[in-house]
Symmetry: C2
Subunit: 326 residues, 2 copies
């Protein structure tokens, strides 16, 4: 069935679409109430984040827009040390989209939400003119412990910088799909709940975490260095990158440090805990390639140490850099 | 300045756009932190709602997409008896949109958020190909009192049904703008915080509230009747409608009962409190035309009593009905 503008009217067709696709896959006692808003239990401190997903194509090796829409938002909650609890799901559908596609995406969202331990508590459906594209906004709510204070202004001289795995996978996978290049590169889109929970449980004193998405590691590290007024020095050889992604980036002239991921985090914590944190992450799903990649110094900006001991400045992404990877 | 895909890259251009427009208008200590998620104080019970706004045109008599995006979400929180607290703001911008337009919309959102008493705590910006359209998703969080239980399954035989004002204004205003019809019809888009707060404060035992948006009063009342397994009987002559909206609907053959509003609520409460509730609403902004319009009976569906004592069934909206009024 093709989606038409009538499915966005708020009347019978909208209600049928919601019943036959969204309620079928997302259904739970809170959502099924179909009230104007969902009323749920909370904690005294919450994290809230919002993200829209406009990726092309909708499906790519290793994932799809539905999985991405859950992971992206869940990971943003985790980066403040929150336990992700609730997620909202708002679809903007261009007329002509196929209901089977919508159903596949919904099934993937539901599966990923289950993996991440979040409940989809409310939603919205709009239909606009267009060419059958699908856009999803998810907003997440997580519970934050009273004493948790993980924030980008917390970096201190002597801290270590770690990443949870290889850089650039998602970016390379989406670009490959868009350019019809056949290769084995898969997106890394994944919820990072387990590794964050285990690190906090084991007493890692994380000063700051960020998931490395649009703009890539270079942009994220620059933001952190700016916020805390410090320099971050990273070693090129320590940054985990899959061989095929490295080759792909080289052929196309892309800078791995500006390539986005959707299932990787960077964490900054006291140097004495860095190796232990890496070991914890390595035991968790999606963390097998975790590594210490650098340290926090006095100064400003981000410095890359190259294998022959050269030093160069890493800038934030300037220009386009494949805007629709999420 | 025209918005380009580069503004959605997550790099320097995105950061400039956020700084120059969104931070300028929405700026507050929480948002200014620019973290992956906002950490805020909460209460033990919260209401959460999400809504995307895809209206054409972006500006119309009495309002704009920015005001609408705040009102729609704030009102959905209020309908569960929540006090609106936080709101998120996620823009999907089609390439070619003008930054001045974006700025006007942002200013309007900020002003409306202030009126409604909500803080914009996080946001997201994506840019897609297209023709300069702008879409906004807002998700709201409100605090709910422990004993508050306002829900569509609560309707009881003998309850009264009230509306907070005239029906169809927003729908008629948007349709006029789209068809270039010159008239005096203004959208009713408004946050309904005050009237809800005053009713609850004065002890009105509200069983259920809904804001009358897409699908119109007919669709909303049918949903309530369904949820509670009751019949709702409304008197045609009691339903407030502005003369010019009535005339507009007549000329175009539109059914007022299927025309959406963006600043009107329907409330169901014990009959003995109905008149008092109407008086309370009348004293609040946007409530001057409040009225009792019907009652809850045994049975099912929605029945309209016409002036000459005719009775007919009111259906939910079927078909298109101007999908992009919000």
């Amino acid at each position: 069935m093709k989606i038409t503008l009538a499915h966005g009217s708020g009347g019978k067709s909208t209600s049928d679409l919601i019943k036959n696709i969204f309620a079928k896959h997302f259904g739970n006692p809170i959502l099924n109430m179909m009230e104007d808003s969902a009323v749920v239990a909370s904690s005294s401190k919450i994290a809230v984040t919002t993200d829209s997903f406009v990726i092309t194509p909708l499906f790519f090796k290793g994932g799809d827009i539905g999985r991405l829409a859950v992971c992206g938002t869940v990971n943003d909650l985790l980066m403040r040390g929150a336990t992700p609890k609730y997620i909202t799901s708002a679809f903007i559908i261009e007329e002509g989209a196929d209901s089977d596609t919508l159903e596949k995406i919904s099934a993937s969202m539901a599966k990923t939400a289950k993996e991440a331990g979040v409940t989809i508590i409310c939603g919205d459906t709009k239909v606009i003119d267009g060419n059958g594209n699908i856009f999803i906004n998810t907003t997440g709510v997580g519970f934050v412990g009273e004493s948790t204070d993980i924030v980008s202004t917390n970096l201190r001289e002597g801290d270590a910088v770690i990443v949870s795995g290889t850089m650039g996978d998602h970016h390379a996978a989406v670009l490959s799909a868009r350019m019809n290049i056949e290769n084995n590169i898969k997106s890394d889109n994944a919820p990072l709940c387990r590794m964050v929970r285990e690190m906090l449980k084991d007493g890692m004193e994380i000063h700051c975490m960020r998931d490395v998405t649009r703009g890539g590691l270079g942009t994220v590290l620059n933001e952190l260095a700016d916020s805390s007024g410090v320099n971050i020095e990273i070693e090129e050889q320590s940054i985990p990158v899959k061989e095929e992604v490295k080759a792909f980036a080289k052929i196309l002239g892309l800078n791995i440090l500006h390539m986005g991921n959707e299932g990787k985090l960077v964490a900054v914590l006291p140097e004495k805990q860095a190796q232990q944190a890496v070991e914890i992450i390595k035991k968790c799903p999606y963390g097998e390639n975790a590594a210490v990649i650098g340290r926090v110094n006095k100064g400003k900006g981000v410095t890359l140490i190259t294998p022959l001991s050269g030093k160069r400045q890493v800038n934030v992404l300037f220009g386009e850099g494949l805007p629709r990877i999420c």
